[in-house]
Symmetry: C2
Subunit: 357 residues, 2 copies
Amino acid sequence: MAEEFIRPAIKNLQEYVPGKTPEKAGVIKLASNENPFGPSPLALAAIIKESKHLHIYPDQKSIVLREALSKKLGVKSDNIIAGNGSDEIMQLAAATFLRPGEEVIIPAHTFSLYKTFTQIFDGQPVVVALNNLEQDLEAMAKAVTKRTKLIFLCNPHNPTGTYLSAKQLDAFLNKIPDNVLVVLDEAYAEYAEAADFPGSIKYLKTDKNILILRTFSKFYGLAGLRVGYGLAKPELISYMFRVKSPFNVNRLAQAGALAALDDADFKDKTYQNNVGGKSYLYAELDKRGVEYKKTESNFIFINLKMSADEMFLQMMKKSVIIRPLTSFGLSKAVRVSIGTKEQNKKFILALAGLLLA
Amino acid sequence: MAEEFIRPAIKNLQEYVPGKTPEKAGVIKLASNENPFGPSPLALAAIIKESKHLHIYPDQKSIVLREALSKKLGVKSDNIIAGNGSDEIMQLAAATFLRPGEEVIIPAHTFSLYKTFTQIFDGQPVVVALNNLEQDLEAMAKAVTKRTKLIFLCNPHNPTGTYLSAKQLDAFLNKIPDNVLVVLDEAYAEYAEAADFPGSIKYLKTDKNILILRTFSKFYGLAGLRVGYGLAKPELISYMFRVKSPFNVNRLAQAGALAALDDADFKDKTYQNNVGGKSYLYAELDKRGVEYKKTESNFIFINLKMSADEMFLQMMKKSVIIRPLTSFGLSKAVRVSIGTKEQNKKFILALAGLLLA
């Protein structure tokens, strides 16, 4: 069978490179920005309660979860669509809106699935270089042509941890024509501390073509359960509903996410730990002259003087798994998740050992 | 915003019509072919054990589950891909292989997603009429043209419960050219009793372009968890792996399905109950002169002399939810899941009341 049996779009897809998973006890994983406290305890209790109903198909529209999100965010249920992780919503955006050959503007060195989904739906990726490791909104606005359909933004930006301010985002959106949809991936927004981090929900009260993506994978500790959501004006959401598979979000994901939303103690602990972890890591990295970017997320981007893959292997020997950014096109940088106090110390200790070696 | 903002393929998609869900106690649902005994108990135990790891992303390749399936079925892991329900594998087949304008042969009055996924990927559905409520393999083979890429078969067939024999399927596959992929949906195969029901796994030892779909939703009682799988030759599987999203199958689905596979007591109870339920229902329907099709599945297709929607409403009043087949294009037929002994009796009692009225 020849390659001509498959769609041309599929020929050049690159496989996603995940963070490595520990294979023995005592190894800590700071590679995938997972919540170091485990899943939300309220979510866990809800999951166990719901599990006896697992023989029944899930609600096709995630109605109860969407109603809870609607109240929490002050938007309508019709502004919300739930997905099997927020990556499914990215894919739905491409499946619903992207015509063959239309252009999709994507920041360089970013989450790889923006490009993958663009390619699956025969779109043309237009990759715009970062400026000082930040998304370059001026260059991205200039990259818009008559053929542009989607623009992916990531805020805070994975993997650099940098952010776009409310003012920057406002100015950018004002420049974007009405026939372009801006997909704003806010997978890490719950961790943002900056006073001028955008309150993007306000755009849902306008006629702007914006699709905001959120996830329960990081802040709520439910990466393994697969649940995220998209926020947009009802017309856009209704189109995506036509395309999504009927039972895309499993019953436990719907029940777990619903409970996690109200897990105030867990959310507070997660947020405070991240704030503390950042200060600690900044101080320790500064002390050692290590170059890094200030982060609005639950991970920290570190510039190396050595190969990221080599650094990864060295750290593995010290039982710490970090993420080399080679697959992001950055061969001399790593991304390290902010862990518990103990995990952060273990990371710094391992790093210090390497720097001395 | 005009409809021209969306892809043309999306304009005519029809929303999936699910079985209705009970809203009050005492109502029985025989509408979605769910396992009346609930989820596999071994799966439940595995799910509860696994839930404490829900903050960690699932294994991208469902390696452990695929290895267990590989041993169970006597095929290679490379013959297997797992999905967020077997419907995801159908979608992957279209995403991976179907080029715009290529034809997809689909039996009439069947599971609606075959057509939906064809449309999403700009394929051309070619619907072939049933013959005496059975898939008409002769007509389907004749429908093959130079533009044909996929053929969907469903065995046992949803919603009629009829089946294709090993001999019929063999003969059909021998007629199909090498540039066509046959997708054989075996969602209900575990219930089949017929001695000549095909052992389709044998095709994986050949070079045939066949993709077999299986699910944990029915026989294993895990519809709410979303896990199914596809079986094909390694080359086809590897292409689909390129297209699938990295974390498509959640952790609990992987762990639950793995445990369910070995739940011998549950599988035996499920199978025997279905065998017994069939005999009971056949006898009771015969007694009342109700027209139905013999079934190889866990549901029974009933021809009515009245409107299916009206029948559905009348049965709802008697606290029994059945599936009117209006959305399948059959306005005078219903599909009734085989339940527990008590549920089957309740259904017959309600039906008898209607027939007398």
